[in-house]
Subunit: 269 residues, 4 copies
């Protein structure tokens, strides 16, 4: 039977209160669930039959999605904040969406990235993007790129990223990259402020192995906005599609086009 | 048995002479073939078992590919000119490439576009891109875009294009669009010099139906660089993947990355 | 004494009616004026002491500004339409603005371009931009650029423009060029969809002589949205600052920043 | 009488040796000079009559230019490395260039920036650009911009910079900004990877006061590649033209156009 777990950051009071409220509501319908605080020391244990309910903004969703992904669990993306490209459930529709999710198996599979650093054991997960960027303000980093062992362009830049379709409207968009439909099986290679080099993105198949090699200067490996590792000249980062996708509950539409229009209008406050 | 047809424009003397030379060479090996001048009034008749050999530059290839596509024939892309992204066979390797093509069936399927204009019977073919653009110098055209009947962005621009992966390094690249690996099953929607609108491309699945609706001002429909139709306010253009791909002989590599590097270096003469 | 002339296109009924209304209003205050229909066969005769009142949108203003410039007259830019970057007088404030303009001499001098084509006698005027662009849909044009006889970049592009600060928020902006404060003494060289070349604009001093040489293919010379001349391979266009500026009445602010924000929000309908 | 001081970083052996060599050469001609190691603890003392000779790459020049600027001294920009946009004297022409500089007063005045941070006493100098950027990898910073107290655009971005014409081919170029002729009296406001906002640069007069206000998140103030200060939400940075320009010896041409072409070709290694 499906276990219901609400994920929120403890400093988002509104999210935590909403979780309690929804739990009471569900209790009256004979359903149980738990709350998982994402900043808790203790790692929660999810199973493949867990329905993870993310309560917050994009940051909450990205963290909850990482946990859900590790367990093979589905995730319901509730939007408690400003417009989020990743979040398709308005807070007013949590309960019905949960009911729908418990009876339906309609998910939108999102490509995630599995990143390995030469010499480092564990694999890094990213749902939006992985960036190799300069470690020091005011400097640039030189990065060579390879797709399936074929050398592509070299960049002297603030950084170079590999973005997923999900992440295409995020940092990739800021850096000039294309919007990619969430369901497409592709990855996008996008440089950030490259010097004297063409700044176009390169769209490759999800089966590709992309390598980013740091040529000089210390660099950082950043995944979904979190710094994962320090890199030195010569270090290489390998980016592949994660074996399993992130399984986002899709009983509601994602409305990419209307979100895009709204974001563009609101971008110029 | 495979029929061999060499395609060239009659004003490319070098191409026509080369065709004759190769034909003589092949005759000694017991193979026959014909020459088809692409600017001839008479339409050539190809069959699915024809091997079309395009002799010239990108323009020759695009025209020959249209004919090959209509017949389901394979096409061998010989490069007789400057660096062409579409052309993988150097002129020095024509004969061996033909021999290889006759014994191998290794083709690279290239997504082509099937374009229909409201009220016009026949379908337009495009291998690189389809553009709805302003009919008059100095003016702009307003175009609404739809993907699978969902409204996307509206543009006041010089034009709006749908490009294939094959065309991604052409006009799409000039307009700021991403480079897309030739084999990917996607289409790219890219505005050309849009006014006060974000200029990012949108990458959609090859199964999508894209509509470009002219909101005001006369416009032109241009496919692979040829003006196909005049459009008026209210006219709609529907772009879909063509049912069949263009079948390019792939016994040689296309080297997208090295062509890209070379083109970028040579772009700044 | 200052002569008052209202300029409008005859198909803008609202503008023509407004002109009559304002004339009646002014008559009661003992002031006289005339109406000039910009699409009349007869060229109006303005003097340096004329106050030209442009009634319409950007197109009306550009045409009226050309006439005012030729005569050294001042121009009052009334906005009868959608947001226009060039138009600083709301229609509700015409009469007071005219009164202010008659007693004040506060003008904002706008750099205009004087364009000559090799072999053509007369000089072309442009307040927004001059473009050398491809004559044929689906083709590109190769253009070499020179600044003060020093060779700059060569472009294979849809076109290459020289924009004024006034025109910087127009076509130049669409093509990726920078916004330039209206009063600056600079010109901006901006390529339109250049292929495999960097697409940055180049900002040069107003004293510079810019040459655009057509390398191949027929091209068009377009000034402020009007096609002025057909160009052939080898033809050169010389762009300089016009000896006299356009003298726009500046009793009201131009609010570049707020217009920019508004345009950006409204650009994504 | 003009004092001659050679500036180099001590770890650039070639530069230090060259300085000694040139000094011996000059000694035979009866001229004296000194060597100043830029990484020495002791600050050198220059006067307005010093001729500073920068021996190294762009980094050496930027540091030496700051010292020369503080003293009102002229600077000779010798290029000991890869192509530098700022460096107009090839190493083979040092001695003749010094002789020319001692007898000529032909300088190219370069606009420099004077930057003040609210609450911080001393003024920061920048010859290339000043950047307000995110303090933390993976985050963005929100920055409001003002020109002469008029609110301009707000950005959610990696950073926002104000660049000089000298710096326009540096970080400004990478971020998409225009190339500006070195002698122009303008400053360029350029956002770095702004999210859902137009990314065009804004070119303003050298007399303008530009303010960059940090709206949220910790940020850094970076001048010419060096981190100068940590900024917090609410902190404001004021950027103005420095009262005095940097006085670069201009007995040789700067060849902006040919350097641009060369850099573009070499950018795609």
């Amino acid at each position: 039977m499906t276990t219901l777990i609400f994920c929120a950051f403890s400093n988002r009071r509104d999210a935590v209160e909403l979780a309690h409220e929804v739990l009471r509501d569900l209790a009256q319908r004979g359903r149980e669930g738990k709350i998982c605080l994402l900043d808790d020391a203790e790692e929660p244990s999810f199973g493949a039959d867990t329905l993870v309910v993310s309560l917050g903004g994009d940051g909450t969703f990205l963290k909850a999605a990482r946990l859900a992904h590790a367990a093979g669990a589905r995730i319901l993306a509730v939007n408690l904040g400003r417009l989020g490209f990743l979040l398709n459930v308005p807070s007013t529709q949590i309960v019905t969406s949960i009911e729908d999710a418990l009876t339906s198996t309609h998910v939108s599979d999102r490509l995630a990235l599995a990143v390995t650093v030469k010499g480092v054991e564990h694999e890094v997960f990213a749902l939006n993007e992985v960036v190799v960027e300069r470690a020091q303000a005011g400097h640039i980093v030189r990065v060579k790129t390879f797709v399936n062992d074929e050398e592509y362009l070299s960049y002297a830049a603030d950084g170079v990223m590999v973005a997923t379709p999900t992440g295409s409207t995020g940092y990739n968009f800021s850096a000039g990259g294309p919007v990619v439909e969430p369901a497409l099986h592709v990855m996008v290679l996008t440089p950030i402020a490259p010097h004297f080099t063409i700044d176009r993105s390169i769209v490759v198949d999800h089966s590709a192995t992309i390598q980013l090699i740091v040529v000089d200067k210390p660099a950082l490996l950043v995944a979904d906005g979190h710094t994962i590792a320090a890199l030195n000249a010569g270090d290489g980062v390998t980016v592949r599609k994660s074996a399993a996708p992130v399984r986002v509950v899709a009983t509601q539409s994602f409305d990419v086009a209307s979100r895009l229009r709204q974001s563009l209008r609101e971008g110029h406050a």
